[in-house]
């Protein structure tokens, strides 16, 4: 393995010294290792996960830097070796490649009572709205999304009287990209909304749902909470679905549902009297909300957290939502090109691995953001 690594490195050095800036992403690798990469604005970390046998792989992008990684699965643990070569002006010498996923993930939490729709003023108290709501803004590199959650009192669906309702709407504003104007934005918006519903809300019977719908019921068959999850794409640089799903998870953790006191009417047919408290709030348990990992197939490899530049070259992409138990809660495919069934299974195992890491990062970021919000 050492000799293999050495060969890889030698190849890398020769490549990374290539003087052409902006050359396309070149990958040198031994037979088809499983790839995933996380990119940052000027930093790119590629890692290789190989589930079967020790392999080594190398990834190079000459205008930024090159990294080589080698892993072994014999001990069921991935070893990371990072090597960086400063070749362009933006090259960062001090970094070593690390096993931590999305380095470009930044989360900021808005204060609970932030005005819906104006979550850009993050952390600022914005007048008091009687309804409880939560919101969050997630930035993945240049991708910027805002999610607001509004809880309103409603009536349960007659066929599911013991369940509340959750609706997810995504809006791709033309301010983010000119192609979002008119029908283009509409198509993308509906596609994202349906994908998120499929990934986060689970099956018909509620199995695998991130949000426990029965917890939203106040009086069975009469009163429940309608949760409106509205996402807004402020700026788009690829991987919108993952960013939106992460934002929804953070926003839910930030959401307070007001405590209600119910006065049942005299006869069972009367609509019960519901008194909404504006002081006491119930917090959501978001540990069950899955994270979404999108694997974009570019050429023969697939990458996570693709930028829009990378997405423009994709043949297809598979979005997989993973919950805290490592179970798959939803899956959708985008892009026309067909995939071999074995590749999909391979993607699922990679997504599970990446999802676990992403989940732990998100959870710690949520905890940190909450702590800082409390300090204020």
């Amino acid at each position: 393995m050492e000799t293999r690594l050495l060969t890889c490195l030698q190849a890398l050095v020769s490549l990374s010294l290539s003087p052409l800036p902006g050359r396309p992403l070149t990958r040198l690798c031994c037979p088809a290792p499983t790839k995933c990469s996380f990119s940052s604005h000027r930093r790119r970390i590629h890692s290789s996960l190989s589930p079967l046998d020790p392999r080594c792989s190398a990834v190079c992008r000459s205008d930024v830097f090159a990294a080589a990684s080698c892993s072994t699965a014999a001990s069921k643990r991935t070893l990371w070796f990072g090597f960086l070569f400063a070749t362009g002006w933006g090259g960062d010498l001090a970094h070593t490649a690390c096993s931590s996923p999305p380095s470009r993930l930044r989360i900021s939490l808005s204060h609970r009572r932030t005005l819906v729709g104006s979550a850009t003023v993050i952390g600022e108290e914005n007048g008091v709205i009687p309804q409880a709501n939560g919101s969050a803004r997630v930035r993945l590199g240049a991708t910027d999304v805002i999610v607001s959650i509004k809880a309103e009192l409603g009536k349960p669906h007659p066929l599911q009287p013991d369940k509340g309702k959750v609706a997810i709407f995504i809006d791709c504003s033309p301010t983010a990209a000119p192609m979002f104007e008119g029908r283009g934005g509409e198509e993308l918006s509906t596609e994202l909304s349906f994908a998120l519903q499929r990934c986060l809300l689970g099956g018909r019977s509620g199995a695998g749902a991130g949000i426990d719908l029965s917890s939203l019921v106040i009086v069975e068959g009469k009163v429940c909470w309608d949760l409106y999850i509205d996402g807004l794409v402020v700026s788009s640089d690829g991987n919108l679905l993952d960013a939106l799903a992460a934002a929804i998870k953070v926003a839910l953790s930030n959401t307070g549902i007001p405590k209600v006191t119910v006065n049942l009417g005299a006869s069972p047919n009367d609509q019960p009297d519901v008194d909404v408290s504006d002081e006491e709030f119930l917090q959501f348990d978001t540990s069950g909300v899955p994270v979404v990992v999108t694997l974009t197939k570019v050429g023969r490899h697939y990458i996570v957290d693709a930028t829009s530049e990378e997405e423009s070259q994709m043949s297809s992409a598979v979005s997989i939502s993973v919950n805290q138990h490592g179970h798959i809660c939803g899956l959708t495919k985008r892009g026309g090109a067909g995939l071999d069934p074995s590749v999909i299974l391979d993607m699922i195992s990679v997504a599970k691995h990446v999802g676990e890491q992403l989940m732990s990062i998100l959870d710690s970021e949520i905890a940190a953001a909450e702590a800082s919000a409390e300090d204020q």
Binding site: P158, L159, P161, E187, T190, E191, F194, R198, G202, G203, R204, S205, A207, G208, N269, S316, V318, N323, H327, I328, C329, G330, L331, T332, K333, R334, G335, G336, A337, G338, L339, D340, P341, I344, L345, I348, S349, K352
Partner: protein, 253 residues
Amino acid sequence: MATNPSTYALSQSSESKQRLQQRRRLFQETDWTRSDGRSFHQCRPAFLRTGATNAASGSAYAEFGVTKVIVSVFGPRESKKAMMYSGTGRLNCNVSYTTFSTPVRGQGSDHKEYSSMLHKALEGAIILETFPKTTVDVFALVLESGGGDLPVIITCASLALADAGIMMYDLVASVSVSCFGRNLVIDPTSEEEACQDGALMITCMPARNEVTQLTLTGEWTTAKINEAMELCLDACSKLAEVVRSCLKEAASG
């Protein structure tokens, strides 16, 4: 005491709720019989015919159990003037339900989600390069919804496309499975779909062994996904054979 309409409505809904709960309990058991007497891994009998409508360049009718679908394909015809120039052909898909297709009278409007899913399922199979600057329209109409609507629509649409003479890499077949506790039930009816824990739908081109569309809901372990995919792919290749024989029959007859 005279029954007033509100109590009547209420008792009916509680009755249906009870029935639903009963069914849900039944489906959680390891062994139960399906309402149409099939075994868990047995698909509904498929009936497929080409030439359902006259005006279309190609059309097909599919009947899987009670699910009945008509798909018409128009074109290739000139793309709308407002469309940007495209060196490859365009595919336009639309799925709609009739107002009488479901037990509760529906709106009969377009089904946006299914339309986009149908588009994604087919676009990978059609050789779009063969009709540049033009558009092919695929219109699907669900006459009766009886479960597994989308797989039936997709399979029927691929037959209609073949009937219209649109170049494709392979016929597209689609099958779904429902998950109930530890059981996997192939080709579910709408009754089963209403209580399922999870669902997996595969659309594939069997001759090329390529999956063009895959959706999954509910909580799944990897082993279960594996099992379900195998089951679906096997059923898909058998279904593609049925579609192929229907085409052959239409060509010879």
